[in-house]
Amino acid sequence: MSGADWLLICDAGLLALAPLAMFACRRSWANGAIHGAALILCLMAGALALSTLLAGGAAQQVVLPLGLPWIGARFRLDALSAAFAAVVNLGGAAACLYGVGHGRHEREPQRVLPFLPVFIAGMNLVVLADDAFSFLVSWEVMSVASWALVMAHHHDPANRRAGYIYLLMASFGALCLLLAIGLLAGPAGSYAFDAIRAHRVSGRVAGLVLTLALLGAGSKAGLVPLHVWLPLAHPAAPSHVSALMSGVMTKVAIYAFVRIVFDLLGSPDPWWSVPVLLLGAATAVLGILQGLLQTDLKRFLAYSTVENIGIIFIGLGLALAFRAEALPLAAALAMTAALFHVLNHALFKSLLFLGAGAVLGATGERDLERMGGLIRRMPITAVVFLVGAMAISALPPLNGFVSEWLTFQAVLVSPQIGATALKFLVPAVGAMLALAAALTAAAMVRAYGVAFLGRPRSNAAAQAKETDPWSLAAMIILAGLCLAAGVLPGFVIDALAPVARTLTGAPMPAQSAQAWLSIVPIAESRSSYNGLLVLAFIIASASLSAFAIHRLASRALRRAPAWDCGFPEPSAATQYTAGSFAQPLRRVFGARIFAARDQVDMPAPGDIRPARFTMLVRDRIWEGLYQPLALAVGWTADRINRLQFLTIRVYLSLVFLALVSLLLGLALWD
């Protein structure tokens, strides 16, 4: 049996867990058993996918006698599928391991346990699917299962609203993908991906497919302006599901985009990269700016997911541009950067969401303004969260820096592109990328500083307890992987080489042969980076200086009240809050984009009414796009509603009219 067969068996096992969980979910052992079984299946599937990828990713096809009778259900494991399956199962395994411990506190396990394995299996099947039918069915299984998980805590009206909006956006996205694949299949109607590859579409139809793929996959991934559901739905789910949705499901959406645009669609036009780059840059900057305004920790993380999706799309846009200009090496570099960031984001975003879940479990709080000082109460969570925060802020020597560095290197080879529009666009996109990275660092300092440092702002934070060992193990493994991918990036790049080769026609130069495990994307005189040595140098010089100072100068230490310029204030409310930390950035960037305004109502001296501070922020995308849309839909529905109360004669004449107009249309068409 081939690797693809075994992967499908693992997915079938995951699907089979669902009915089991439905019957057993009220038992005390159910949580551990279901999560544990899912963990083992994920690990097996992940190992299979990884070994296929490392073996070079030769395509293996499986046709099952399911689905549509004339094509069956086709599945295919090639380099691209294997890379994404590895990411999906890695994230799935971490979430399941975390769930073994965290899930015990779940009040309604029957709303989580049956859907979680289905969700993971759905994502696996999407990346394996090789015909339109099984692709779309798996996509919908993934969407519906994740919707059910979002609705797990449906007693909260905010969660119900989130679920509703998610359902609407998911239907919209699926519709777009359906149309995109329909156009790809063409009038011949060959829905197997092999047949689509054999008959490429071109010209205007190809442009339409690109647009639909951007809308369909982009709405699932969270591209601005289709991201509105994401910051509502991702935080609403239980935390390990949030980690899966943010860290992994958005990657499946990226997979769908890459599969359709790079694999099925054929040779790109030069202008294709323009919308991708524009949307990517806008998503990166707007996502993190909106994140900076949030005080809900999980919602902030969801906005940061939006930002990272933007970074990935910037990489994909560059790869498209290079491919259109027939620069395969540069395209491979940009593609590798995007895929590397896919892996990185899956690692650190899962880690951060799991950390947020640990904080939520320990304090019952998602609001940053009621946390503080958790570094003393939850020391291990604080360390791993710090690793995740540094990694996502693109700081060396962790993994987030490597993928951003590769993206910058891809921007630096882009003057070779001939198209004038891109010559203007690419440097600006590079600046946006740098801005997003700097803003992320600010946002992470804010989140970490307010939640974990300082003094506790509420009793719950002061009484917090470290989370359970299972959850800690999941987070420690993810943090270790963040570090490993940061100091040994050459191995990741080499593992991704088959994917880059199949998608862009050229692989990156092999990195594992480089001296000292450096990475050298093009040539050593051009650029190189060595995370391992950077880490070694930092550790060496930090410990050397600490040792020398303690040995030669002084090691005396005394505890005392904080200095605070001579006026220490015992109340924890005088600390900087998340809102006040963001105020300068809100004022600099938010005044235009969000119409952010601060209103201070300061009573005159002698007046005893309290002073008030109000912060006004507007979400222009919601107000400008979605509210009018909702109004228009409501208005139209009201008008159409009249059709319900007509007589039978009018209905018959309407049917007749419809028939005549359809026939007329057909007659004119031919």
Partner: protein, 320 residues
């Protein structure tokens, strides 16, 4: 033989930046004092300050966590590693391929990340104000810096600082508009990043105007000494960066003999003196800005960097 020589140069470079950075601070203070018609402290005063701080006991706030105690050493280490990779008197540093210019900027970003966290650790309002403002300034300064790196990298076909310096030394540079823009932008960024007037005042202790000083307000003893040294290293790093890219004359090229190295050292000392004097002159001539003017100041740097990069994108085929 070559390996030993390279190692020696790398080691000498690391020790040199560490040894010279307090001197640069002393020089700037001295020149500033003379310009204000004061006599000023001696040039070696910063060394005495550091030594005295190191021997004092640390007074640690009750609410400080382990992060507060570890952060100074990490900040120092990141800054030192970054400073050790910028060519000062000789190009072709042994480990220059470890981190290119983008990574050096990011290493400084790591140092800033820890500094901002340390500012928030004790839980006082001044620490928070410093961290919040520092990250706001960095959010504009970092993209500007990346744009400058882009300009230089597109010209020199490399982000490797040694290669960039080598390219600037070669005869095919010529006068370029982009270079002028990059120089001005880099100076603006350097002023902001090192916390000098008009963005931040290193001598201030007026609470509401502090940025860097507010973050390190709770530090004392050896921790404060290490942080002061890191700040001095950062100033030296930016001066060296400007010197090695825009006035590379005198840099000992790869594989040169002792004479060239000595000339390189002399030239470097000369450049430091001039830069320190110019910085002092600039600082006495301008007034500190309001905090919310800083983004405009740095926005100019960002625009100059972006414009320079755009010019390069449009004017040439770029890297091959």
């Amino acid at each position: 033989m070559g390996l030993i020589r390279d190692l020696a140069i790398q080691g000498a470079q690391m020790l040199l930046v560490l040894a010279l950075s307090p001197l640069l601070i002393g020089l700037v203070r001295k020149v500033k004092a003379r310009l204000l018609r004061r006599r000023g402290a001696s040039l070696v005063q910063p060394y005495r300050d550091l030594w005295r701080l190191m021997r004092k006991e640390v007074v640690l706030a009750d609410s400080a966590s382990w992060l507060f105690r570890v952060a100074p050493y990490l900040i120092f280490a990141c800054t030192w590693v970054a400073a050790a990779l910028v060519p000062t008197f000789a190009t072709g540093l042994m480990f220059s391929w470890t981190a290119d210019l983008i990574a050096i900027i990011a290493l400084l970003g790591s140092a800033r990340f820890f500094l901002a966290l340390a500012g928030m650790d004790v839980g006082t309002s001044f620490g928070g104000i410093g961290s919040s403002r520092e990250m706001m300034i960095a959010a504009v300064a970092e993209p500007a810096m990346i744009m400058i790196v882009f300009s230089l990298a597109l010209l020199a076909h490399s982000t490797q600082l040694s290669t960039v310096a080598g390219y600037m030394l070669s005869s095919n540079v010529g006068l370029r508009v982009t270079l002028a823009m990059a120089l001005i932008a880099l100076i603006l960024v350097a002023i902001a990043e090192t916390g000098r007037i008009p963005i931040d005042n290193p001598a201030t202790h007026l609470e509401l105007t502090m940025v860097h000083e507010a973050m390190i307000l709770e530090y004392s003893g050896r921790h404060l000494a290490v942080l002061e040294l890191a700040a001095a290293l950062k100033l030296l790093l930016y001066v060296s960066l400007i010197a090695c890219v825009f006035v590379p004359w005198g840099l000992a090229p790869v594989g040169s003999g002792l004479a060239a190295t000595v000339i390189g050292l002399g030239a470097y000392l000369g450049k430091l003196t001039v830069a320190g004097a110019l910085l002092a002159l600039f600082e006495t001539a301008v007034a500190k800005m309001r905090v919310f003017r800083a983004p405009e100041f740095l926005g100019a740097a960002l625009m100059l960097g972006l414009l320079g990069t755009l010019l390069l994108f449009l004017s040439r085929g770029g890297l091959r």
